[in-house]
């Protein structure tokens, strides 16, 4: 499974949203109704899935589905 598909799956699992909602522009908090704990949980799930550590200062860069995919692609690329 590629990075994009894995990210989408994690977002769907963690936030309980439909695949159609998980578009690149979707903001986790504003569009997908995540709270602050959800965003931490998402970051932890990305770390587990992709075997990397996302520093606190980078977490602010992961506000949308697209940003998360781009960030992970860059780090893993």
């Amino acid at each position: 499974m590629d990075i994009e598909a894995k990210v989408k799956q994690i977002v769907m699992d963690k936030l309980g949203v439909e695949e159609a909602q998980v578009v690149p522009a979707a903001n986790f908090i504003e569009d997908l109704r995540a709270d602050s704990l959800d965003t931490v949980e998402l970051v932890m799930a990305f770390e587990d899935e992709f075997g990397l550590t996302i520093p606190d200062e980078d977490q602010d860069k992961l506000r949308t589905v697209g940003q998360a995919i781009d960030y992970l692609k860059e780090k893993l690329g």
Binding site: D35, L37, M44
Partner: protein, 248 residues
């Protein structure tokens, strides 16, 4: 009364003292009791004693000040027994001294085990509880954390810290249905207080409205309540188990 069948309860520092009394209570309430303590021999003895009484108990060696160790230990417990329903942060020590005589090491050791240990175990267990969307965390504080005590500035600071920590975690974890409460024992009959002279014990009893020292089981019964559905609407509280000593 409160049955906790199928529940997994982890209790730190529970090979003896109040921690062991809590373990006994939970075991008799049919919970699966996980004893964590530093000394392998004492852990084995405690587990054996609970099993002899018909309880479901398992023991693990663990140091609450070691974050990596606790993280791995909790993951192992979840794997072997299932999701942790209740954590009791009981591990604690005293290193009493008057302020002017207190060494930095005495301060630091008490803060590390009582306060940092509570932080570490709470953080690591919450990772599991937030996924399960349920859980109860019980921090064993002390009335000393509420009223202070000469010769126990380090202990009082650590226990007062635990009470404030309890409130912050209760707010932070509430959206995940994880409740966090503290229990503040007063003068309880333990090995620690058994060393006191009759005179000192009598003078304590005089200031306690119920007129006597408490037993470890008095503390354990409140923990059982806080772990059970009977306390489902209670979070962020500190319940003093002190015979009325600190009522206000």
């Amino acid at each position: 009364m409160h049955e906790l069948t199928e529940q997994i309860v982890v209790i730190t520092g529970s090979a003896r003292g109040i921690g062991f009394a809590i373990a006994q209570r939970f075991a008799s309430a049919l919970a699966t009791v996980i004893i964590i303590d530093l000394n392998a021999e004492l852990v084995d003895k405690a587990v054996k004693s609970l099993r002899d009484q018909g309880g479901k108990a398992f023991g693990y060696i663990g140091n609450v000040t070691d974050g990596k160790m606790i993280e791995e230990l909790f993951a192992q417990i979840v794997k072997e027994h299932g999701p942790i329903d209740t954590l009791v942060n009981n591990a604690g020590v005293t290193r009493d001294n008057l302020m002017l005589r207190m060494k930095e090491e005495e301060w630091q050791l008490v803060m590390d085990i009582n306060l940092k240990g509570t932080f570490i175990c709470t953080q690591k267990v919450f990772k599991h509880m937030m996924k399960a969307r349920q859980g109860s965390i019980i921090n064993i504080a002390s009335v000393i954390g509420l009223m202070g005590n000469a010769g126990q500035a380090n202990y009082a600071a650590s226990k007062g810290g635990m009470i404030a920590f309890t409130k912050s975690c209760a707010k932070e974890f509430s959206s995940r249905n994880v409740r966090v409460n503290a229990v503040a024992p007063g003068f309880i009959e333990t090995e620690m207080t058994a060393a006191l002279s009759e005179d000192v014990r009598a003078s304590y009893a005089k200031v306690i409205p119920l007129g006597k020292m408490g037993t470890p089981d008095d503390v354990a019964k409140v923990c059982l309540f806080l772990a059970s559905e009977f306390s489902s609407y209670i979070t962020g509280q500190t319940i003093a188990v002190d015979g009325g000593l600190t009522m206000h």
